[in-house]
Every structure is written in structure tokens, then in C-alpha cells.
Symmetry: C2
Subunit: 711 residues, 2 copies
């Protein structure tokens, strides 16, 4: 079905039928009908209930079949068991969209799940875009459409239809956030509770809202995203259109993740992939539900910071330092102001206070003109991208400082965020109305500055296609993997992994597969009489060879036969002799920095790439960076720079720099390989990849992989 067209019908119906309407606003069917009138929905409203001829002046129909004309949207407030039939009746009545708030579906055990499957069949049959079930519905204050029964709409309702949309996968959280927004006068123009997402899912709404001209800020509460790559594309489109998408993702500590067999699997779990996906999508990831609301205050329209350099203007030296601490901890810069700004500030402030940044306006705290001058001068400094202002107590400033701050913000042309601690509530409300993002807590103000800077930053990395192009190499790779899966293999051996890597131009250590002691001895001499060797059992199912004692390093060629016998025996003890193919004889690679490179196929976001420090300590330090594939060279370099160990790639303490460029090339090639494999490969480790001195390239020394499924 064309989601977009259906969502248009959901958000812009010419008529709405409310099945289960009643005059009693104590009941969902009563509230739902009443809200449509209260919020000024301008289309036709058809109450459906056989008990009443008329409700609140509207003709009431006995059933959907009795409607005098086709209806666009049906709101179903009927028992769960009746929903599939009513959905069919809705389709017959011409409905292109439906909202099902009723619970008792997939969230409520096996019987509910089969009822939900029936609901989906009915929706498919009549091509109906269904929101829900088990949700609070939706509302669009721009059109007055309120397809919901939540009591959050019963309160005194003042907020205007703001440019903020909120999509929530939790009804309870959604209603609570909506209520808090009301308390604070924040205008959420569109609210959608997605419920069980039987038909329409979170990604569908992000897609729709990314094109909605009434929306500049898309907030969301997310437990899990379906169609991850579609989601990334939609969020990037929203971002390109100047909108901001900010999400709170829960479930980071979930113990439910499947145990991974490889290092990469263990190191790039679902939480890390979500982080990578959000980063790639240009989504602002927030940690607190409170922050969603604060963003609606701090980020109206297309307000953003051009960079991450903050100027701090504080009534208190201590508060200035505190905000500087929090800014730096959050990745912002607190750069000194230029000398000319400091000179100009010297005309307003006495000698002994801070004027470099933070600027301490304590001595003139009672003078709004002086405050204005400090803020304007700081904001106009070329080293500043946004201004954080602190006021403490100062009840006398309520209604007084407002035009000064508005003028300062306008003149410097940069975002201003005010922390007014201990200030009166009416003073804060007035400032917000005047367009100054004001908070009563410095930590919240700094958090918003951090998010403003992130919202302004460039989205890194290439677009993420749904799947790879079917090049001849991709087709060949897929055929090889399918053959292994069909042959009953669960994993690939080191040799198989390296052969695949070589096919993508990734440099691997040379090797010979020896199947007997004699072959091992002969192979050992092939790399030179005195070049030390690595001897490793070749057995696909043995992922962690070192742990099993199936690897011997720095073996003299004369001892290759003995080493062969040892590692083959050790491997046989773990996976059985039948699964041991022999041993690989390799020359020891030249020394270098040992890194881990790997891929994992994520069920939501598809192929992902991970790089980190390698060797035995990789899992201990967990110094890894994960990105969704594909990546390009620039993103590969950025991954390396984000490692805590990044300095080890440079001229660290006199060492020769490492060949990061070669490693970046490996990552890009691996990412193309990962895209080509799709779900056929679950996990792959290259560990270690030895990164040599600059210009000398890098070498994959070992590898292992877990096969996936032939979807």
C-alpha cells in the first residue's frame, strides 16, 4: 500500500466516523466525539451507535453501512474481538484510514496475537492504514483532528498548534509528556501514539512528518524501530529539509540480546547499533524524557548553533564555571573571547572579574543594560556559536530583562539559552514567550546547548540504501555463502574468511593449508629457512582458536611438524576430528598495531561495521566504534579518530605513525562486503588486523565468521 497516501487520509480526512460514540464523556467514545468538536475539527463527523439518533447535535448512525456517503477515517472504540469485523465494515464504507485504540491484541498473549493477525488481514483486504491497536490514538491541532480518548485533552487547554510533533511507542509516556507540555505552555501540534504498530509503524510517521510543512521538530519515544534503513533515510530527509528529529530510545540495558559468538558480535550489540543508526540519521539522541520537552523550548523553528563553541555570561563566577564544566563534559568548547571583545567588555565590567569566557557580570547584576551589553558582546564574538546566560534569584528582573535579552539575541544573530535559577515562574514564562529559551536549571540549559550544537552539525557518512547493488561480485559472494549454508556449515573457517576478504582487495597474510605433518614441514620451509611461523588449526566451527590452544605462534620452520600435530589435536578435542581440515602455515606478520575489524548483520539496521583495538584485550577495553554500512573513506577515518586509542595511530611518543589510510581502505572494502552479504553472514571478525607503519599497509592475520540465514 502507499503509506504516504494512507497517512494523508489519516491526518487529513474530509470526514470521520466514531464507532462507539456516546453522549457520556466519562467513556472513551464520549470523550473522543467531544474532543473533535472542542478542537474545531472542520470535516464531517459521523457518530455511530445504534442506541442514539442524535448526539450533541450530530446525526448518529446505527452502523457504518448506514452512512449517507463514504467516510475517510474511522475511529474504532469497540471491544477487541469486534475490531476485525468493524474494520471490514469501515473498508466497505470507503475508509482509507482507521484508528484502533482498543487493547487486548498482541500485547495480551496468544489469543490477542491471533486477533491482531486478523486485524492485519482485514486492513490488507481493504487497504486501510490502521493506527494501533492498543494506543491512545492521534491528534493534529493544526486541523483540529483528535482521534483519541486521552484525558490529557480534558484539562484547560491553552497551547497553540506549535511546529512540534511527538510520536510515542508508549501510550502512558506519551500522555504524560503531552500533559507536561500543556502545563508548560509548549505547543505540540501533532501527537501520535503508535501502540502495537500492527500496520503503521514509527518509521511510517517519521517518513510522513519529514515532509509535513507544519512540523519543524519531530520528537519521539522509541522502544524499537522496524525497517531501520527506511527509518535512517526518512530522518536524513527530515534533516535535509531543515527539520530536527530528536528521540528517546529505551531498552539500552536489555538483557534480552542474543549471546554473540564473535568479538564483533559481543562489541556491537543492539544499543551500539542504535547509537550508530541515530548518528547516521542525524537524529538527536536524548537520555531523559524531560529533554524532549526542553527541546521544544530550545529548538523552535530552525534554531541551531553553527558550531560547538559556547560563550558563557554568568551573574556568578561559580555558576559560570559549573556551566563551563558541563559544556566541556558534553563536548562543547569554551574558547576565550577575542581581545577586542574583552576590551569592549572592560567598558561595562570592572577589572577584577572574568571577561575571557565565562564572562562574570556579577558586579552589574542589577543593570539590564549592562547585561544586554555583556550578552551582545559575547554573542557577537567570532569564537562563539551560541550564548549561555545564568541569572540567579533576581526577582526584580522579571519582565524587565526581557527586551534586553531579545535585542541581544537578535543583534548577535546566535542562539541564546538562559538558565534562570530561583527566578519567578511568571518571569520565565514571559521570557519563553518572548523567544528566549529559558530554563530554571543550569544543567538543563547546558544540555540544550549541547543538543543545539549537535542539531547544527553535519550528518556524516553516505546514504544507507535498503540493500546493496547486485554486482557480479555481490552475486558471487552470495552464492559462496549460500553454498556453505546449504552444506550445513554454521561458520566459516579462517581460510574461507581470508579467501573472501582477498576477493574484496583486503590484504591477508599468505598461507598454506597443510593436511599432514609432512605437508606442514614442507610448507614451513616455503616462507624461508628462518622466518618464524604461525601454525593454526583450520576448522570452521572453532571460532576462538587461541582459547582452545589451537594456535602456535613464532614457530621455527624446523618445528612446524610438531606444531601441526599439537594444534590439530587441540582443535579436535573441541570440535571433533571430523571438523578439523588441517592447519594453516603462515609466516609471522611484520609487527604493527593490532586492531579488530568486523561486521554484524543487525535485524533492524542490516549490515554494520565495527573497528577497535585488537588482540586479547579487545573485549576488556571495548574500545570500538560501530557504524551502519556502507561507509566511505571519510567516515572510516572518523571511526578511527573516535577510538580512545586513536593517538596510537599517530606519531605517539616518537613512534612512526601507522598506516591509517590502509586500514580505512580495509574498512570501506569490508563495508561493501557486508552490504553484499546481507543476512547471509551474521558476524565476521578480522582479528587481528596488523596495521604497519605509514605507507606499509596492513595485514589481516586471522579471521572467523558465523553464517546467517538465506532470507
Amino acid at each position: 500500500m502507499s503509506q504516504k497516501k494512507s497517512l494523508h487520509a489519516l491526518f487529513n480526512p474530509a470526514s470521520v466516523a466514531v464507532v462507539g460514540a456516546t453522549p457520556d464523556v466519562g467513556k472513551p467514545g464520549g470523550r473522543s466525539l467531544a474532543f473533535l468538536k472542542k478542537f474545531g475539527y472542520r470535516g464531517k463527523i459521523f457518530p455511530i451507535n445504534a442506541k442514539y439518533p442524535v448526539i450533541d447535535g450530530l446525526t448518529c448512525y446505527a452502523d457504518l453501512a448506514a452512512l449517507p456517503e463514504p467516510v475517510d477515517l474511522v475511529i474504532l472504540l469497540v471491544p477487541a474481538k469486534a475490531v476485525p469485523d468493524y474494520l471490514r465494515a469501515s473498508g466497505a464504507a470507503g475508509a482509507r484510514a482507521a484508528v484502533v485504540c482498543t487493547s487486548g491484541f498482541a500485547e495480551a498473549g496468544a489469543a490477542g496475537a491471533s486477533l491482531q493477525a486478523e486485524l492485519v488481514r482485514a486492513a490488507d483486504e481493504f487497504n486501510i492504514a490502521v493506527l494501533g491497536p492498543n494506543c491512545l490514538g492521534m491528534m493534529d491541532l493544526h486541523s483540529g483532528l483528535t482521534a483519541t480518548f486521552t484525558t490529557a485533552l480534558e484539562a484547560e487547554f491553552t497551547p497553540a498548534a506549535g511546529p512540534v510533533a511527538f510520536v510515542s511507542q508508549s501510550g502512558a509516556m506519551g500522555a504524560a509528556v503531552f500533559a507536561m507540555a500543556q502545563y508548560e505552555g509548549i505547543g505540540i501540534g501533532k501527537f501520535i501514539s503508535t501502540g502495537n504498530e500492527a500496520v503503521l509503524d514509527f518509521t511510517d510517521f517519521v517518513e510522513y512528518l519529514s515532509d509535513d510543512p507544519n512540523v519543524s521538530l519531530i520528537l519521539g519515544y522509541v522502544e524499537g524501530v522496524r525497517g531501520g534503513r527506511r527509518f535512517i533515510a526518512a530522518a536524513r530527509r527530515a534533516r535535509a529539509a531543515g527539520k530536527t528529529v530528536a528521540l528517546l530510545k529505551v531498552g539500552k540495558s536489555a538483557a534480552g540480546e542474543l549471546a554473540a559468538r564473535s568479538h564483533t558480535g559481543a562489541l556491537s550489540g543492539s544499543a551500539k547499533v542504535y547509537e550508530a543508526a541515530f548518528r547516521r540519521a542525524g537524529v538527536l539522541s536524548v537520555d531523559h524524557v524531560r529533554s524532549l520537552l526542553d527541546l521544544a523550548v530550545a529548538l523552535p523553528g530552525q534554531k541551531r548553533a553553527a558550531g560547538r563553541r559556547v560563550g558563557i555570561v554568568s551573574m556568578s563566577g561559580g555558576a559560570g564555571v559549573m556551566m563551563a564544566d558541563a559544556s566541556v563534559a558534553g563536548g562543547l568548547e569554551v574558547a576565550p573571547l577575542t581581545q577586542s571583545t574583552q576590551d569592549a567588555l572592560a567598558k561595562v565590567l570592572p577589572d577584577f572579574v572574568g571577561r575571557a569566557n565565562p564572562v562574570d557580570y556579577g558586579p552589574v547584576y542589577g543593570d539590564p543594560n549592562a547585561i544586554e551589553a555583556c550578552v551582545e558582546l559575547t554573542g557577537s564574538d567570532p569564537n562563539v556559536d551560541m550564548v549561555l546566560v545564568f541569572m540567579g534569584l533576581s526577582p526584580g528582573m522579571a519582565g524587565v530583562v526581557d527586551p534586553h535579552l531579545v535585542r541581544a539575541q537578535e543583534r548577535c544573530g546566535k542562539p541564546l539559552i538562559l538558565a534562570w535559577m530561583g527566578g519567578p515562574a511568571h518571569g520565565i514564562t514571559a521570557l519563553r514567550k518572548a523567544g528566549i529559551a529559558t530554563f530554571d536549571d543550569p544543567s538543563r540549559a547546558v544540555e540544550m546547548a549541547i543538543l543545539l550544537a549537535r542539531a547544527g552539525g553535519a550528518v556524516a557518512g553516505p546514504d544507507v540504501p535498503l540493500q546493496a547493488e547486485q554486482t557480479p561480485r555481490a552475486v558471487a559472494t552470495q552464492a559462496a555463502l549460500r553454498a556453505s549454508i546449504v552444506a550445513g556449515q554454521a561458520a566459516l573457517s579462517e581460510r574461507e574468511v581470508k579467501a573472501l576478504m582477498a576477493g574484496y582487495g583486503i590484504p591477508v597474510v599468505p598461507e598454506v593449508l597443510a593436511t599432514t605433518v609432512d605437508e606442514a614441514v614442507a610448507a614451513g620451509l616455503r616462507f624461508g629457512n628462518d622466518r618464524p611461523l604461525a601454525v593454526k588449526a583450520e576448522a570452521p566451527e572453532l571460532i576462538h582458536k587461541s582459547d582452545a590452544g589451537a594456535v602456535r605462534l613464532r614457530v621455527a620452520p624446523s618445528e612446524a611438524g610438531q606444531a601441526f600435530s599439537e594444534v590439530v589435536a587441540a582443535a579436535a578435542r573441541v570440535v571433533g576430528a571430523a571438523n578439523v581440515r588441517g592447519a594453516l602455515i603462515q609466516p609471522m606478520a611484520r609487527p604493527g598495531l593490532e586492531v579488530l575489524a568486523g561486521l554484524r548483520y543487525d535485524p533492524q539496521f542490516g549490515a554494520t561495521i565495527t573497528v577497535g583495538m585488537g588482540g586479547l584485550t579487545s573485549e576488556v577495553l571495548a574500545d570500538v566504534v560501530t557504524e551502519v554500512a556502507p561507509i566511505d573513506h571519510a567516515l572510516a577515518h572518523s571511526m578511527l579518530q573516535r577510538l580512545r586509542s586513536a593517538p596510537l595511530f599517530g606519531a605517539f611518543r616518537g613512534a612512526v605513525p601507522r598506516d591509517s589510510e590502509a586500514l580505512a581502505g580495509v574498512l570501506v572494502a569490508l563495508s561493501q562486503f557486508a552490504m553484499d552479504c546481507g543476512p547471509l553472514l551474521a558476524e565476521l571478525d578480522l582479528n587481528p588486523v596488523i596495521v604497519h607503519d605509514v605507507g606499509a599497509g596492513c595485514t589481516v592475520v586471522d579471521g572467523a565468521a558465523v553464517l546467517g540465514v538465506d532470507g
Copy 2:
């Protein structure tokens, strides 16, 4: 002076003189006087002002000399220049304490600093405990004593004198926090703004409050603590008395720290030492000023959690997961409830919702009895130390759910924290009054659960004496260091460091100092004909020998002479030939895990000990733990366990465990050494210390030290 006695006079004066009193409450002198009456101060009040015979019914005196009787406390609201003379006059009038709010002292440039020095001389002369200058003063709502002029007291004032004290090094932050506390009905019983701390400092107040029976929670805003060891002792005493000390420390990102010369210096900067000191002191360290106020709600009296296991009871599955995420991220455990608890919950909740933890009470969200049952059952579970409850919206629960939650909290006997998001303000206020710690934001509720668990945990490590006992060994160590300082050395050589270490029983690698090529050749053979050697220049000023090329490793004995020449020449290029004493010839140590152990003398907290991963990567990974000396074996082991690399000490991936016990012994000995040195040694690195397999001990292979001052 006896600080305690003086502080008693400050907090419990039988009489107060207000110098600069006026009938005009628009002026500080007017407000100060008015507040004393408003808050019911019960002692005698003497306004001092030559202009008025009577103010507000009180006899006004022309000057302090005119007072009819000695006065205990003088509040000075006079121009800065006049303060020293008035202080002397106060002393002459019998005052034992004074509050100086006036600014224009050390914070205001050189002239102010010399005025402050004069103030200190006057205070010393008359033995007066002075609060300030440049502060907001103090107030004690228990006695009605308000020695302050802050407008924060002008508002409608309802809070009772609660068991909370707040000590602030920033006046503006202090007043703002105090005002916010008022808005929220939180009773701060004592408030002290310490200003410039010319005489009384932050530590003095923590010491005093640790014995104050009216105070159970000491909150503080701190920029820097003087007398760090005295502070630790005071906070530990408060803690032992069942009180909680919670501080917000600012200045963590300060670029002002002196550049350190050693690894330990670079890795154990001021921010890390404050962390260590607060941990040792049992201080709750908070990151947000908001958290100080929240603690006053969450931690009244001696409420604490017996452990870090939280039970979560949520109206929304998603909110439950969100709080579980935040709890786990903050170090709490979300352990499954016992089967018998789950069985009991099954009588209240339907089959399909979470009952293991989090408990999802969504299906019964409208039934206060069911909520009570869920909370009580969860709280009574043996796997739970405290309960987090989430409610969303639910305006109908205001005033209804209160007795149910109170009963559940009482019956389970464990702390309960409620996040009520979107709930009405009056409902939240009523719950707080009823003794339920309630917040409108789940993140704040979880943060309080984390702090509650920390407040309940044991304080680790031995007491920290002001200085070491003067044992014969301590005296000898100090003499040796003094001799080096007197001789003009700025640093100690590797050989000197190892000699000192050996004196404390710390195992060091054997070595010979060679001063000629011939000596080097002879020394090389002393450790065996084929044992590889380390050859290192011996030069006290050369802290980073490797960087200078003054170290050769794995040298064959036959090449010792050549290596000697190379390292000596390399060292001479950096520090000059005159500063090179020769080269150390050492056998290469047996392999093992390389760690860094070190000490640093901190100007506030004295000797500190640091341990971390060693070798070239120590500064890159910054995987270190710092503690204030002295430490004992248990704390040394805890330091090792807190390293990210801790698994490397155990049987990691089949390796033999390392001799952690031996390393712990080195740390304890080093800590005793650090105590003995005091400020005579600024920094010392043992890097690497090689930790061998369990039972095989460890070996200090290299060391360097920077001398301190003979204070």
C-alpha cells in the same frame, strides 16, 4: 583559635549587633535587621547607626563602643575600607564572631587583597571567627538567627526549619538554591554563604555541622576545599553519625592545573583527586545543582537503601524499561523478583504483563489498592533494596493514592521513590508532605535512587591522618629527599627512586650503575652469559628516558658496551653530559602484565596514590584509579578491581592469573612512602611495574620522581 567554640558563637549568639542598621528595608542594613525580627531571633538585637536613636522599636547605638554590654556576634554592613577597624571595635566590644557581607576584598584585585589581609590580622588580634567577606552571610531557622541581607528571605516564607544545612562557596548560587527550595517547600534549616573564606572556611562548617543534632543532611556547593585532610575527617565523622554530606564540586574542566611532568601527575589531576577524596570521605558527589534540592526531598532523616538493588513498579512498560536503563547505567541492579513474589503479583496482575522486574501495573492503573499491592509486594521482595514507582498523567490519583503508597512504604520498610510524570502539582506536593519522595521526572527519581544506594554503602578505606607518624624510616626518607633538594636536584634518578623503593620492601629489578664502557661490559656479564639486558641512561633530570632514546632493551651481554655509549650520548643531548651519571645495566625482567604505580602530592589533599595500565599506552587509555594515601590492602585490591582492565589480572581467556596480591602490597608500601615524603616529593612514577603470574610477585623495572618543596 578553637574553631568549634567560635562557630558556636556564630550560630548561637546571645546577642547580635547590626552595624549599618537602618529603617530602610530597601538597603542591606535594613533588611538584615528586619529579618532578625521576622524569623524570631530570641537573643538581644543591637542596631548600630549614629543617625537613629531607635529603629523599629529597638534602641539604636551610635557605635559599638556605646553598647551597654558585651555582644556575641556582629554583622558588619559597612564599606570594605571600614571593615578592619569595625572588626577591631567588635573585638573590643566582646564579639567572638562576625559576619562580613561586604565585597571589595580579595576578589577585587590587589588593593582588595591587602584589605583582606588586614581583616585577617584584626580577626586574629581579637580572636574573632569571621564569616566572609564578600558573602551573603548565614541563617539558622532553628534559632531564627538571620545574619544576611539576601532578598531570598523577602518572599512569602513558609518552609519549616528542616534538618538540611546548605553551605555555599558562591553567594549567587546559594541564594538561587535557597529560593528554589522555598518554591518547593523544602526546609533548609541552616544556610551559610562562605564568601572569600578569609578566616572560616568550608571545612570549618562541615566540621561544625557534623556534630549538629539539628542537621541530618549537609548540602554544599564547592569550588575548592582548603585543609583537604581535615575535610575528609569531618565528612567521615558526619557519616559515622548517620548524616549525609552531598556536594556539588565545580571546576572539573579547569585548564588552570599545572602541567605535570610524570605520567602519574598527568593522570591524577585535581578533578580525579577530588573524586577520590569525596569517595574516601563518604561524600555523595552530585553533578547538578538541581540534585542538591532533590536530595532534600529524597533523603530526609536517615533514609537510605541497604543496597543497590532496585525494584521498579511502573504504570507503563516503556517507562519501566527506561527507568531500568537509567538505573543500570547508574550502577544499580534490576534483579528479578523471587518466584513467590511473582506468584503473589499474579493475583493482582493479568498474565501477559511484566511481573519479574520491572513490574507493569498498567492493566490496573486506576485501582489504588492494586497499586498498593504491587508496590508492597515488590518492596518486600528479598532481592529489592528500594522501590521506584512510575505513574503517568492520572490526575484522579491526586490525594487518592497517597495513603496507599505510605502504607506500602511502611510495610515493606524500604525507601520508595515515585516519578509522577504529568501529575498535577498539588498531588505531588501532597505526596511529598506525606513522606513519599515524589518527582515529576523519571530521570530525577532514578538519580535519587542511585544516590540513596550510595548513601547507604560503606565508606571504604582507612582514616586519613593529617600527616604520617614520624617513624625512623620516615625521618630517614625525609632526610634523603631534603639532601637532594638542598643539592639543587629537581628530580630523582631511576637508581635513586629504586633505592628508596627497596627501603619500603618494594621489589625492584637488580642493577649495576656503569660509568664507563668497561664497567658496562663487566656488568653485562654479571647477570649471566646469555641473559638479555636493559641499558638505560642514569640522569635525574631525564624523566621520560624512552622518548629521549636513552633506553635500549633486549641487549645481548656482548653488546652492553655499545648500548652504554648510545644511551649516555642520547641522554647527554637532552640534559647535558654533566647531568648524566652513567647507565644502569639490568637483566630484562620476566614477562608479565605491565602496570603503572605512582604518587602525587596534592596541594589540598596531600599524598595520593595512582595505579593503572602501564607501558607506552598508559596515557592514551588513562585507565587509572587514584586514592588519597594511606591505603590498606583491601582498598588496594578495590583499586585494581575498578580498572577497566581489571579482567587482565584474572584468568582472562585461559591465562594464568596475575599476582594481584603482590601488586596490592606494592601499592600499600608506596602509600606509606608517600605519606612519609609529604610535600618533599611532588610526583613519582613506577612504570612499568611488571606483575608476574600468581605467586611470582612483581618487579619494579623503571622509576622516576620529581622533587617537591621542603615545607
